[in-house]
């Protein structure tokens, strides 16, 4: 019937934003690199996921199971596509680090996660249906990463990628520890510019003995004393702004994606990650990317920071669908032409904020 081609053409125009194929690498115990590749095609009555492993039907079965379980954490379901996942070499029977690579390739090919550049991932899980990543057996050494030119390296498990939602900074909905991430632009003069994440993990205070001073219960491992002090002051100021005085409720751990950097423009990202972790902020669909500092977090005010032009250029390169970008209000009039529209075309949204908090 004539309606069918029209329907296909119209849906094709929107679907064309999705990649036709995706690849994710993983390191094997013998040092070789395995590639998981995923492609999408019309389903036409076939299974939703098809896995092909040369000469190993059981591994293909296990891979299909892993991918299907990981899809349980997704809400949106599309019966129109079939994802075909292939693997270019067969790992040994006991090796399971390819699981994370398969799950990520499946997400990438359906546009649920759009990394920059090539990705290497090692991780396994016994609870894929909850989105957890339990651990990894092998480290991916830095020389392999640089030799293969893979800017994104993910290691499953605590300390790395512990939960699939963490890819966009969201806390694990089932865990007793609430961990949220936000990103901030690092300006290092041209090609060194990158996004760095800050992660805030909050644990409820269990006993009265712990509940002495919330500010002292903020740990920033791996950072010098000045940075620790800055983090503590920003967090306690911003928590004071909540207007909830009284007993301390949280023990807090703050980690940064890079150990070394200068400046205070991470503060806004830190404060918002803390608010998301404590369940007091609207949750963005993608990542939260923020740049801003303040001398008065207890009033919720956001002050301006430096590096407008390079940071805006970086944000236009890095923004992905669903991302929320927050900049100081003072930047509003100085933003480059077409910046807002450019971000919107990428599916991200921008706000120049004067203060934190709801509306």
């Amino acid at each position: 019937m004539s309606a069918l081609p029209g329907g296909l053409a119209a849906s094709g125009s929107t679907v064309s934003a999705l990649p036709a194929s995706a690849e994710c690498r993983s390191l094997l115990a013998d040092g070789s690199v395995l590639t998981v590749s995923a492609t999408r095609r019309p389903r036409a009555g076939r299974a939703d996921v098809k896995c092909t492993v040369p000469g190993d039907a059981r591994l293909a079965e296990r891979m299909q199971e892993v991918v299907r379980l990981a899809r349980h954490t997704e809400q949106r379901f599309d019966s129109r596509d079939q994802v075909v996942i292939g693997i270019d070499r067969v790992p040994a029977a006991h090796e399971r680090d390819w699981e994370l690579a398969a799950v990520l390739a499946d997400r990438m090919v359906r546009g649920l996660w759009t990394p920059r550049g090539q990705v290497a991932a090692n991780g396994w899980s016994d609870a894929w249906h909850l989105g957890r990543v339990d651990g990894h057996a092998l480290d991916v050494p830095a020389e392999v990463v640089s030799a293969a030119g893979m800017p994104v390296t993910l290691l499953g498990g605590p300390g790395g990628l512990a939960h699939l939602g963490q890819l966009s900074g969201h806390p694990d909905p089932g865990a007793a520890v609430s961990v949220a991430r936000a990103w901030f632009p690092l300006h290092a003069g041209g090609s060194g510019d990158s996004l760095c994440w800050v992660e805030v993990g909050v644990y409820p205070v269990q006993s009265a003995a712990d509940a002495l001073d919330e500010e002292q219960a903020i740990a920033v491992p791996g950072q010098d004393a000045a940075r620790q002090l800055a983090v503590r002051q920003a967090l306690s100021g911003a928590r004071h702004f909540d207007g909830r005085s009284g007993a301390a409720r949280w023990r807090t751990t703050v980690r940064f994606g890079q150990p070394q950097f200068q400046g205070r423009s991470f503060e806004l990202a830190l404060v918002l990650a803390d608010r998301i972790a404590r369940g007091r902020e609207f949750v963005p669909r993608g990542r939260l990317i923020a740049s801003g500092q303040s001398d008065a977090w207890h009033t919720g005010r956001v002050d301006t920071v430096e590096g407008l032009a390079p940071k805006c250029a970086l944000l236009l390169r890095e923004a992905a669908p669903g991302d929320r970008i927050l900049l100081p209000h003072a930047w509003q009039d100085a933003l480059p032409d077409g910046f807002d529209a450019g971000l919107r075309a990428l599916g991200a949204s921008l706000a120049c904020v004067e203060r934190i908090g709801i509306i």
Binding site: G6, V15, Q75, S79, P173, G174, A176, R278, G279, F282
Partner: protein
């Protein structure tokens, strides 16, 4: 026993109406005060409102059910994000009097297709909250951190449409509130740690839309309710799609016609769905296969929820933004087709996951 003490029983717990209950079933012979509108659902599921006579005495025919509801206003706290329990939206809504222009009232359809017995305010809130959370997660509505006033206004418009299309309520007022006074996230996390059962996540994302509507575990009952929803709501969805999604180009017109045709076939198929427990006349079906069938019918109701949310988005769409919404409609219809097909089959398709 001998019928000596039979008399007209009043509406059960009538004082609840307007406080903790939105609608209560009314038995034949009851008298309902004139301030409470009454919806009568007949055996085929079509609805009508009882006449606005003073103090109605209900006379129901065979197979009919009647509900008296309180128009409100009700004030509830909706949680827009399951992961942010200390921030809520204080929403005041009413259930409007019958719109004379509309062929069917959305709230009446909701009562007919999804409610069995009493409709409590908490259950109704859970349905609205589920629809809101789902739409925020899918990107139909946007409520990002540090929402600007324009973004808030756009969200409010979308929320009004969503709750009207999904539940038939009119939102009067909606403001963000700090719920820290009543909900302590730290205590919730500590309880989660104590419970220690990481196997059961507190906020299962998949279960959110379906759970409140049918808090039943019995697959047969859940399946029957799901089929009832398909039977009653598919024609109304088709009607809504015809009206709301006015095509902007000839291609979209053809696309809309194709969608309507597929929905028509689905609707016919839903009316002729085989019984859950029978593989063939007189031949029983195994429990595992019954569970698979019930799973498909449950997932079809999730698609129905998505379709109502899509209609809400279509209402405020501009011609330029129609294309992705048509794509979304194709996805929903394709999912419905896949699930109805799965519900009809007597054995799992090749390569289909059993655990799902």
């Amino acid at each position: 026993m001998l019928g000596l003490f039979k008399r007209a029983t009043p509406v059960a717990d009538a004082c609840e109406l307007g406080n903790s209950a939105v609608a209560l079933p009314v038995r034949s012979g009851c008298t309902v005060p004139p301030s409470y509108p009454v919806v009568i659902v007949d055996a085929r599921g079509s609805t009508r409102r009882a006449g606005a006579a003073a103090a109605k005495r209900m006379e129901l025919r065979d197979g009919e059910a009647a509900y008296a509801f309180h128009p409100g206003p009700y004030t509830v706290d909706l949680l827009p994000f399951a992961g942010a329990p200390e921030i809520g939206l204080r929403t005041r809504f009413t259930i409007d009097a019958a719109e004379p222009h509309a062929a069917h009232q959305r709230f009446d359809l909701y009562l007919a297709s999804e409610v069995a017995g009493r409709l409590g305010l908490d259950a109704f809130t859970a349905v609205m909250e589920g629809a809101l959370q789902r739409e925020l997660q899918d990107g139909g509505l946007d409520l990002p951190p540090c929402t600007s006033i324009e973004e808030w206004n756009a969200f409010r418009l979308g929320l009004n449409e969503l709750l009207y299309m999904r539940c038939g309520v009119t939102v009067d007022d909606c403001v963000p509130v700090d719920l820290a006074g009543s909900r302590d996230y730290a205590a919730m996390l500590a309880a989660r740690a104590l419970r220690g059962d990481s196997e059961a996540p507190l906020l299962a994302p998949v279960a959110v839309p379906a759970a409140p509507a049918c808090g039943v575990v019995e697959p047969a009952i859940a399946d029957a309710r799901a089929l009832r929803r398909l039977f009653l709501e598919l024609p109304c969805l088709m009607c809504g799609l015809r009206l709301a999604a006015l095509p902007a180009t000839p291609d979209q017109f053809r696309q809309q016609q194709a969608l309507l045709q597929r929905l028509d076939l689905l609707s016919v198929g839903a009316n002729a769905m085989p019984a859950l427990g029978l593989a063939a006349p007189g031949q029983a079906l195994g429990a595992a296969e019954q569970g698979r069938r019930a799973h498909h019918s449950r997932r079809a109701t999730v698609s129905l929820d998505e379709a109502w949310a899509l209609l809400a988005r279509l209402k405020s769409a501009t011609p330029a933004s129609l294309a992705p919404l048509y794509d979304e409609a194709e996805r929903i219809v394709a999912n419905l087709e896949a699930d109805c097909e799965g519900r009809r089959r007597t054995h799992a398709a090749r390569g289909e996951s059993e655990a799902a």
